[in-house]
């Protein structure tokens, strides 16, 4: 039987890892992710998992050990946040290039400097072109569900790419929410045994991993990665369908909330979607046609489907919890503007709100203000301020 309990995001993710029971976990503590590996270390010492737990001296080593274990043939996981992810950078690309289906929860936290431990998305947004699949989660339930689904997505023979599942630091990682956890045996059956086709410990079939690859073949191997990313969307939907059968919960490439008949819409990632949905409900009560689109799969970016869902809107606000410092707005805004370029019909007006950097709260009044701005833009057809820093003190 599934059980509905009060649980933090970190605990829910650690529970998912216990149920997945990976062969190897190599991790290093970093706020706000620390609890995940702390809970998991308890599972190891209490004999609740069969995992070889490698305590390493840094995140660079954590990702390196995870790559080694995965290449050897193990189902390998790690977890990190912020500076930890930054320290893994070099090895993130290696994991993707070697096509190792490592799965890692990442708890979103701002990057230094100035030093900060609270939530924004600058850490995972920086890793968006590393070749990893990125799946974002609004709350503990989604983080738990996404992590379990990520195993099947990453390890799918048409994909074989590392996958990070994110949630917002503190807001979700430490906030008590309610979530329904699946029975252990159901998760075990869902994630299956990991059976890699080629692995280093297969002594009968010796292979070389990480050989030198010059101008003669490197390009072809990178092209293969594009092919793998092209296959991700279908696999995500197929895995979601199977996951619904065991959980009753429905997942798609992205989540639409009262979007179909909406005239204006907010596009947002992670926990702010929860706050924004409440604002949508309140404004709908007043008869305003407002809606919301929440990103789930960000890499690869399902740009055609998202553009289609938004092409008939009069105005869109993209909320970014990270800035690109390119002066073109946040990373989601930049991608979405590119996605909308080919959408049919008249050009949809778009604006960007950078919010919540370093854990600054985003409240309902601010979101209501964004919808207000959107309705003015829809009415006048004029954008006066394309990029706004929402909640910064002037």
């Amino acid at each position: 039987m599934s059980k509905r309990i009060a649980i933090t995001g970190n605990e829910a993710v650690a529970e998912a890892m216990r149920q997945i029971n990976p062969d190897v976990v190599a991790a290093y503590p970093i706020t706000p992710q620390t609890e995940i590996v702390q809970f998991f270390a308890d599972f190891v010492s209490d004999g609740k998992v069969d995992t070889e737990f490698v305590t390493v001296e840094s995140e660079h080593s954590a990702m390196s050990a995870t790559v080694g274990a995965s290449a050897a043939g193990a189902r390998a996981m790690t977890a990190t946040s912020s500076q930890g992810l930054a320290l893994m950078w070099e090895v993130l690309y290696i994991a993707a290039g070697l096509r190792l289906p490592i799965v890692a929860p990442v708890v979103n936290r701002a990057l230094s400097a100035p030093i900060n431990i609270h939530c924004d998305h600058s850490d995972t947004m920086g890793a968006r072109d590393s070749g990893w699949i990125q799946i974002y989660s609004e709350d503990a339930q989604e983080a738990y569900d996404n992590l379990i689904q990520a195993m099947r997505i990453a390890e799918h023979p048409d994909v074989l790419l590392p996958t990070m599942v994110t949630m917002d630091g503190f807001i979700v990682s430490h906030g008590m929410g309610n979530a329904e956890l699946l029975p252990d045996d159901v998760v075990k059956k869902f994630v299956r045994e990991y059976e890699p086709e080629h692995y280093l410990l297969d002594v009968e079939n010796p292979i070389t991993v990480g050989a030198l690859d010059f101008s003669d073949w490197y390009f072809e191997h990178r092209r293969q990665m594009v092919d793998a990313h092209t296959n991700v969307k279908d696999v995500v939907l197929q895995v979601a369908k199977e996951f619904k059968e065991i959980s009753g919960r429905e997942y798609k490439l992205f989540d639409s909330y009262k979007l179909d008949d909406a005239e204006v819409a907010i596009v947002v990632i992670n926990s702010a979607a929860g706050t924004a949905k409440t604002v949508v409900d309140k404004l709908r009560e007043k008869g305003l046609k407002v809606g919301l689109l929440k990103i789930r799969l960000f890499r690869p970016f399902p740009y055609e489907e998202i553009a289609e869902a938004l092409s008939d809107k009069k105005a869109i606000a993209v909320l970014d919890r990270a800035d690109s410092l390119s002066l073109m707005g946040g990373p989601l805004y930049i991608d979405l503007r590119a996605a909308m370029y080919d959408s049919p019909g008249p050009r949809v007006k778009m604006v960007n709100y950078i919010y919540g950097l370093g854990g600054r709260d985003l409240n309902m009044d601010q979101i209501a203000g964004v919808y207000d701005d959107l309705m003015k833009i829809a009415e006048t057809g004029e954008v006066t301020e394309p990029i706004t820093y929402l909640g910064v003190r002037e």
Binding site: L98, R99, L160, H198, T208, W217, E220, R223, A228
Partner: protein, 104 residues
Amino acid sequence: MSAVEKGWKDVPIGGLVLEAGSAKKYETGDWRTYKPVWDEEKCSNCMLCWIYCPDVSIIVKDGKVSGIDYKHCKGCGICAHECPRKCIQMVLDTGENGEAGAGE
């Protein structure tokens, strides 16, 4: 190489090499600037050069050094440095007398 050149769909993913010992096919001798020249007369067959060579380029037959594999030797000079009898000399590889990459 077949008539039609292989493309990205035809090779194992991630740069995996699925056959053992394939480094032998990849000749790296032409990377060399200096080449080791071995003096058989002075050699005591202590095998230190064979142990230290990072490219497995010291050829040994019946327990004795028999030459250097110039198709794979990269000219690092470690063998010359380690030889206790100084019977390996590093000389500028001009391409003559054991051309770079041309064989033993």
